[in-house]
């Protein structure tokens, strides 16, 4: 495309009009800073981005469609694989939706345990974000420290669920297995010095002039435009909009916890960074409350038609054996109906819209993925940005492509 460049003070009449060409630049799908297989088609005027078109689908796995042919229990394993940086949050949104359809009453201890693990998930997800975001901008050290702490959380996950990432730990009616005996001690040990760690990250970045130069005023999301685009999560709160589902529509017992919702002012990359740092501190606060006040009592919902009996019971109890057999083969029948359950995932509003036709398999599961909405707000807010800032901009909205493409 050939067009006449605008006249700038530099243009001299002597030189006459300069004819320049706009450049189309493919950023991704294999690019370290696109955080997955994202492709951005950038139209460039010199260094400036005039248009940015995200191209998605490189990681499409048909998860939503696949869930329709699996029982409710089997479909759960697919949720881990959407936002693989926050598996527990994804499990949580799904099981809450199904539990609402079933009308299950979840014991308080289980609800608190879920809060604890969901907040640990938030911390470890933010740690990955912080590490990679720092790396994108050249701050190598932050990455190492963040992953060091994340490793501790993943170790806890591994011990409690059996694997580090694809936990499938939250189940309809409770959790997959009782937490191991030292679970709470491990959490306490990690949380005890975590605030110091956050201080360290901040020491490296918050006041670092290089970091600030690259983030301040970059890719600003004005509050009302961000709302219009459906941006949620820390990316929205950095623009000063007080919208956190944990407060607005509390689920799984968040109403019982004291915490604040950190807000930004400018909506630039720096504010998004600051909000996430503050969120880690708030998550720490919630975790500590959960550890202190962890109620005693049963962990699993008292509905034997949904929750399989303990394995030892099969040896002598015919009713239990039948229930075990049917739950694992046919699955449980979920009353017909539809439900939308949103949770505050580390990335924003993660919603599960589940329709049941009364059979043991969901008729339809639609996922409202926060990364998807956040990503498509990007083109508007990066119009005119420098191409170098694109890296900071993409990093700042914290997307996971698995969740976008599903």
């Amino acid at each position: 495309m050939v067009q006449e460049a605008q006249k700038s003070p530099l243009d001299s009449d002597l030189l006459g009009p300069i004819r320049t060409e706009s450049l189309t630049l493919n950023m991704g799908p294999q690019h370290p800073s696109t955080h997955g297989v994202l492709r951005l088609v950038l139209e460039m005027e010199g260094e400036n981005v005039t248009s940015c078109k995200p191209v998605i689908g490189y990681l499409h796995t048909g998860i939503e469609k696949n869930m329709e042919v699996k029982t409710y229990n089997k479909a759960l394993t697919m949720t881990d694989r959407m936002d693989y940086l926050a598996p527990m949050s994804n499990n949580l949104g799904y099981v809450l939706a199904v539990e609402r359809l079933l009308g299950l009453e979840i014991p308080r201890r289980c609800r608190w345990l879920r809060v604890l693990l969901a907040e640990l998930t938030r911390i470890q997800s933010h740690l990955v974000w912080l590490g990679t975001h720092g790396l994108d901008l050249g701050a190598m050290t932050v990455f190492l420290y963040c992953f060091r702490e994340r490793e501790v959380i993943l170790k806890i996950f591994e011990k409690v669920a059996g694997v580090r990432m694809m936990t499938s730990y939250f189940r309809v009616g409770g959790v997959a297995r009782t937490p191991y005996p030292e679970f709470f001690d491990d959490c306490r040990r990690f949380l005890s010095d975590f605030p110091e760690r956050v201080d360290e990250y901040e020491e490296l970045l918050t006041d670092n002039p290089i970091y600030r130069r690259r983030t301040e005023g970059v890719c600003v999301f004005p509050a009302e435009r961000a709302l219009a685009w459906g941006v949620t999560g820390p990316s929205l709160r950095a623009s000063g909009v007080d919208y956190d589902i944990r407060k607005k529509e509390p689920y799984t017992g968040y109403e019982e916890f004291q915490f604040e919702v950190p807000l930004g002012r400018n909506g630039d990359v720096l504010d998004r960074y600051l909000v996430r740092i503050a969120e880690m501190r708030q998550s720490h606060r919630i975790c500590m409350q959960a550890l202190e006040g962890m109620p005693e009592g049963p962990l699993m919902a008292a509905d034997p038609k949904v929750v399989p009996p303990p394995k030892e019971q099969l040896a002598h109890d015919m009713e239990a054996l039948i229930h075990h057999f049917k739950i694992f083969t046919e699955g449980y029948h979920v009353p017909a109906g539809e439900v939308y359950q949103a949770i505050e995932s580390p990335r924003g509003e993660l919603g599960y819209y589940v329709i049941s036709d009364g059979s043991p398999k969901p008729y339809k599961v639609k996922v409202r993925a926060p990364s998807f909405a956040n990503l498509f707000a990007l083109p508007e807010f990066t119009r005119g940005a420098l191409v170098g800032d694109m890296v900071a901009a993409i990093g700042s909205i914290d997307i996971v492509l698995g969740e976008i493409d599903r």
């Binding site: 699996k70 229990n73 089997k74 479909a75 394993t77 697919m78 694989r81 050290t141 060091r148 490793e151 591994e158 011990k159 669920a161 059996g162 694997v163 694809m166 499938s168 997959a176 297995r177 191991y180 360290e200 020491e203 490296l204 006041d207 670092n208 002039p209 290089i210 399989p308 394995k311 030892e312 099969l314 040896a315 054996l321 075990h324 057999f325 694992f328 083969t329």
Partner: protein, 159 residues
């Protein structure tokens, strides 16, 4: 301005006195937690008979259909498992497996468990099709961490 950068460098420097958190794999290995979801194993009873009765609950519970079981009737003279039924074919496609552990949860007799092994590389896709002889342990006692999963006396058995 330089002060902030220097503070950061000081922090990094401080870390060089701290103890190391990395593990020199493969020379050093971390101990796998109890209940780790690694490579499958088929267990036996103490008397050497196979625990698996070929009920196919594992393959029914598997979200990715990676387990294939064929059952047959025990020869009363030389039984393979307790009771009438046993698995004549038990195959797991470990490439397809997502290690969710549903098979272990579904197994009514505590036969299939996800073990501690996580290093199982092969040079051909076909070799990831683990047959019964690859999965079945010779003696459950050789795997104390797997034996500890269930109290054998409290599991469902057949005569």
């Amino acid at each position: 301005m330089l002060a902030e950068i220097a503070r950061g460098l000081w922090l990094t420097l401080k870390h060089s006195w701290r103890s190391r958190v990395t593990v020199q794999y493969p020379d050093e290995r971390e101990e796998m937690p109890k209940g780790y979801r690694g490579l499958h194993k088929l267990l036996r009873w103490e008397d050497g008979l196979e625990r698996c009765v070929g009920c196919k609950l594992c393959s029914a519970a598997c979200p990715v259909d990676c387990i294939f079981v064929e059952s047959a009737e025990n020869d009363p003279a030389r039984p393979t498992s307790k009771g009438e039924r046993y698995a004549s074919v038990y195959e797991i496609n470990e490439l397809r497996c997502i290690f969710c552990g549903y098979c272990e949860e579904a197994c009514p007799v505590g036969a299939i468990v996800l073990g501690n092994e996580y290093e199982f590389c092969q040079d051909h896709r076909d070799k990831f099709l683990y047959a019964k002889r690859d999965l079945l342990v010779r003696r459950t006692e050789d795997y104390p961490e797997l034996k500890a999963r269930y109290d054998e006396k409290r599991l469902l058995t057949y005569v």
